[in-house]
Symmetry: C3
Subunit: 188 residues, 3 copies
């Protein structure tokens, strides 16, 4: 197996259905999804280190999300018309169900919370914010090209899920989230 | 509590005082501050894991910084004129004092050092570089719109503080920073 | 030692040979290399935590890479003509040798793998994707200015090395990489 092909040495690269500059917003978009996915891998690794048992349900959810982030990535990598999209509204609905389930585990808050807590929770907040960056890049792509609308909605809801997962993780370890003091009540 | 409102599904979102595209430089700026803040949360989590006692003073400083990064974030989120800014020159002065205090703990160096050392120090170097990214995004925002000048200075000085904190953390664990060999003396 | 000079407070900063805006693509490029380097520092820290012995060869390789990322960074920081470049084709060749050696340790795969596994492997996947971001920024710089071609090739190959390192790390801990299910065979 040879993974380096030297074909990217001139700053151009292959997407599905075309050849573009690595500076292209499309490459930036799925590249950021790939980065987000790596942080999800790290969150899983930390859950396993900490106590696989305690987090087995969340590890399962996150592993499925890793698979789906590849679906998102290939939807963003494909030049329109080249093949059917993979992410559908059902994927987004399922994320919403998970958000609801996770938030039930944690006491409700009215104010912003400091991103942190246990190593697992802090890594979930990192996932949250990197996924939000990926969403912003997908939005930038939208302004330049047609993309799978559901893939973008998926990223939007996924960052909410990471917020919920971080709160659930802290709740499971009996760690209270610290509120942002100088803010007003922002959550309803 | 329902955190997903589905209002961001079309790629637009709310800032304080307006509705903008998620591709907007303002959203990019405070979104990056949020990301930096999550890495600060991770640095704190690692300090607690390693030995809360040994780092209690730094945990306190970093927790205050997490609060202040929300102040920075809301200053960047607010469309000019909508409300008074939160970050002032005094915040920046305090950062400078902390920089001085932390650097005193570590042997002085003349050359660049490799970002790393203990898990705590390496995570502080990550904070340093992500805060620098946030500063660059705040500068980009400045070129497009008026922002709180002190918030940008705050980010600038904060990355210096993370450099100092990383060095202090390694010093506390008796780890010597490795110098960049092929460079010249850059620090005075 | 005073590291804050307050000279960057107005959003301008020094590169080697000029003064530019912090919004400049050049600053973004070496700033991202600095960020990538910090994640490399974290990968090393995790290897040491886990079992320095088991990873001593990889720690050595990664420490050399940290040195070389400063070479890359200074090549990107220098305005053309100001001084000779540091990174050469030989550096890239050596990366390719390391890729080959690392991939031999892991069973070959045909499909994409989920970025993750052990804490060491997941941090190497983070390095992989942040280095790819640095490569994209170097490509953007190329479109605006002349840069050291070999520094860009170095970044390209370095992300392949992190893929190989992540696979080797999992193999050493007898962790099987999970394949992306809904994809086709992509590796030859
Ligand atoms: C997109 C992409 C990525 C994305 C994945 C996006 C996502 N899903 O998230 C990201 C950025 C993650 C990625 C990462 C990597 N990638 Co990549 N990637 C690609 C790329 C461009 C497309 C792969 C893909 O998904 N193809 C989709 C399939 C379905 O497309 P296809 O096989 O061409 O199928 C088409 C046709 O055959 C037809 N078709 C398919 N099936 C059928 C069936 C029928 C019946 C019909 C009629 C037609 C048909 O339709 C398809 C669409 O046109 C390929 C290059 C390329 N153009 O193939 C490189 C490629 C696979 N990647 C490569 C590499 C090296 C990597 C990395 C190791 C790079 C790195 N250093 O990080 C990593 C590995 C990541 C991992 N975790 O395993 C190399 C592999 C080299 C090799 N040894 O063979 C490739 C070949 C690029 C290259 N260098 O030339 N990659
Ligand atoms: C900026 C912002 C962020 C920033 C915070 C910036 C920072 N400080 O760093 C960031 C990016 C971090 C963020 C993150 C999140 N956010 Co947010 N955020 C907002 C936003 C746009 C503003 C919140 C804010 O600070 N308001 C400032 C207060 C002071 O403004 P205000 O309440 O409108 O007050 C105004 C007036 O009332 C008046 N006023 C106030 N007080 C007084 C007093 C007097 C006397 C007078 C006369 C006037 C007056 O002046 C103010 C300015 O106009 C709101 C949407 C919105 N427009 O409210 C969402 C919002 C609060 N966020 C939301 C969500 C979901 C999140 C996240 C969970 C998203 C995610 N998946 O990551 C995270 C949670 C982060 C956390 N750690 O807790 C949701 C909450 C939904 C809900 N359940 O209610 C909102 C409502 C957006 C939405 N979807 O509609 N967010
Ligand atoms: C590029 C750069 C960086 C890059 C490094 C790039 C890389 N290699 O990856 C990055 C982004 C990583 C960085 C980070 C930091 N940096 Co810096 N950095 C610089 C910068 C712009 C250039 C440094 C450099 O490499 N110079 C290269 C040398 C060779 O250049 P030179 O000494 O000017 O040499 C020239 C001439 O003298 C001549 N020359 C040299 N040798 C010879 C020999 C002969 C015979 C002849 C004829 C000519 C000659 O040619 C050279 C080219 O013109 C300087 C500012 C500046 N312009 O010097 C700041 C500077 C060194 N950084 C500074 C700081 C504070 C930092 C950080 C702490 C910031 C932070 N908060 O993160 C970190 C520390 C990082 C670490 N790990 O140690 C400060 C130091 C302040 C101080 N106390 O003195 C400086 C001075 C900037 C400032 N604020 O004014 N930095
Ligand atoms: C909670 C708040 O976060 C902001 N917001 C919404 N989407 C993103 C994103 N992808 N990245 C950063 N910030 C975002 C909006 O201002 C929203 O109101
Ligand atoms: C130490 C050096 O780092 C660069 N520099 C200054 N501010 C930033 C930033 N926010 N991000 C990246 N690099 C920066 C300048 O080149 C400075 O001289
Ligand atoms: C494996 C695939 O990854 C994409 N690719 C190549 N270089 C980069 C980069 N620096 N960042 C993100 N994606 C990249 C191309 O589409 C390539 O085919
Ligand atoms: Mg390549
Ligand atoms: Mg939302
Ligand atoms: Mg400075």
């Amino acid at each position: 197996m040879k993974i380096y092909t030297r074909r990217g040495d001139e700053g151009q690269t292959a997407v599905i259905g075309a050849r573009v500059s690595k500076d292209d917003v499309r490459v930036e978009a799925y590249g950021t999804v790939d980065e987000a996915n790596s942080f999800v891998g790290d969150a899983i690794a930390r859950m396993r280190e900490r106590d696989g048992q305690k987090y087995s349900d969340l590890i399962e959810v996150l592993t499925q999300i890793q698979q789906e982030l590849f679906d998102v990535g290939s939807d963003l990598a494909v030049v329109k018309g080249k093949r059917p999209y993979k992410i559908t509204a059902e994927h987004v609905d399922r994320l919403e169900e998970w958000v609801d389930r996770c938030l039930q585990e944690a006491p409700s808050v009215k104010k912003f919370i400091l991103p942190g807590g246990t190593p697992v929770a802090s890594s979930l907040h990192i996932c949250r914010t990197v996924v939000r960056r990926a969403e912003r890049r997908a939005v930038t792509l939208t302004l330049n090209d047609e993309i799978n609308h559901e893939a973008r909605r998926y990223l939007n809801r996924l960052s909410d899920l990471f917020f919920a997962l971080a709160r659930a993780a802290n709740a499971r370890e009996k760690i209270e989230d610290i509120q942002y003091e100088r803010g007003r009540e922002v959550f309803r």
